[in-house]
Symmetry: C2
Subunit: 210 residues, 2 copies
Amino acid sequence: MLDEPESKPSRRYRGESQAERQSGRRERLVAAGLKVFASIGYRAATVRQICVEAGLTERYFYESFASKDDLFIAVYAHCVERVGAALLVSLEAADDTPEAKARAVLGAYFGEIERDPLFARVLLIEVLSLGPNLDYVYREAMDLFSVHLQSDAAELFPRLSEDKGRTEILAAGLVGAIVHVAMRWVLSNFRRPREEIILGLLDLLLAASR
Amino acid sequence: MLDEPESKPSRRYRGESQAERQSGRRERLVAAGLKVFASIGYRAATVRQICVEAGLTERYFYESFASKDDLFIAVYAHCVERVGAALLVSLEAADDTPEAKARAVLGAYFGEIERDPLFARVLLIEVLSLGPNLDYVYREAMDLFSVHLQSDAAELFPRLSEDKGRTEILAAGLVGAIVHVAMRWVLSNFRRPREEIILGLLDLLLAASR
DNA sequence: TGTATGTGACAAGAAATGCTGTCAATATTC
DNA sequence: GAATATTGACAGCATTTCTTGTCACATACA
């Protein structure tokens, strides 16, 4: 027997291995997807356009992704990861008081959103264009945030954890308030200054914690 | 001069006038649109499918609407009107205390949503599938709710109107909390009982008002 | 009853898009 | 420098969808 006919045709190309090149293309497609999805909307975006933006041809699109849906899910995951990392960093840098923590999280969240409106648009809006079959993508991300808020908030705002039942809804409500305000902030093209938004929400958070 | 060459070929048909028949078709299309959009999602919905659902042919689709977008906007407007009417009724029937009013509004809102999940899906989710060009549709509806909450709440919760600046954001935050919780409730297929959701949000509203 | 108008079924062109295949140019290894 | 893997440009088929047009049948009016 031959040792695996076409097992390792791997070869370095332009200083990169097979795996590196492939994942490089994948990253470029994700970046291009983010840009195109956010610019013209999910439904109007075409595979061709994304490939042009990435400087690749359709052939390489289907090398990494099975469909437009598939790419979008990857793009969205990338966004969630990014905002999650930003929140984590901000939390660790903040003082150890409830207000300081809350402020840090809000600052990081809205800061990240304002820094890159395209990213924000995918994170908050376009994700809802996927249709009934892929709802779970958004739902899971939101649940993630709620759970975080719940566990973090448990120590920050003791009152929250009194009544186990309503705590969950309260957390969902607060996440909802934050996310929704952020969404409308993006939709309004950042009309108000960021600081104003943050103070308003801080108000709400502190009120809910008492 | 002849009195307007092809001015009045109008004629009654099946007991209805020209205008009645036309608006009847329009209504059927809106109803069918609601059903199809909510069932399979905006992007997957096709004009053909909507026409089949309405029991009409494509010809009559283009008689009333210029495009799928156009129809969706009409469907959405219909939903907003419907929920608006329900809220109004509930507000008038409620006792004249802050809690009672708040409770009535939440009850009506979530009641309407639970009664017709398809309607809810369009109202809360599919509307975000429209893409950047038609964002304003959603934005306007949300602003409407916020303004209502602000003016109604001004008398219900005096504290809210103290600081004019933050009041707006607070109102947007509360609307956001309500809408977002509703959205996730729909996405979760109404997992929790409605009453539980309402109590949790009431909690938040009352906390914010103090 | 006959004529004109409204209606619904169907056909079909035009355009867009998803997806795959071909092939010459380029980079790498021997 | 020759052989081969890798790439990128492009053509093109199949499918879907929008959109308009045609025509027989149903309904109303004279």
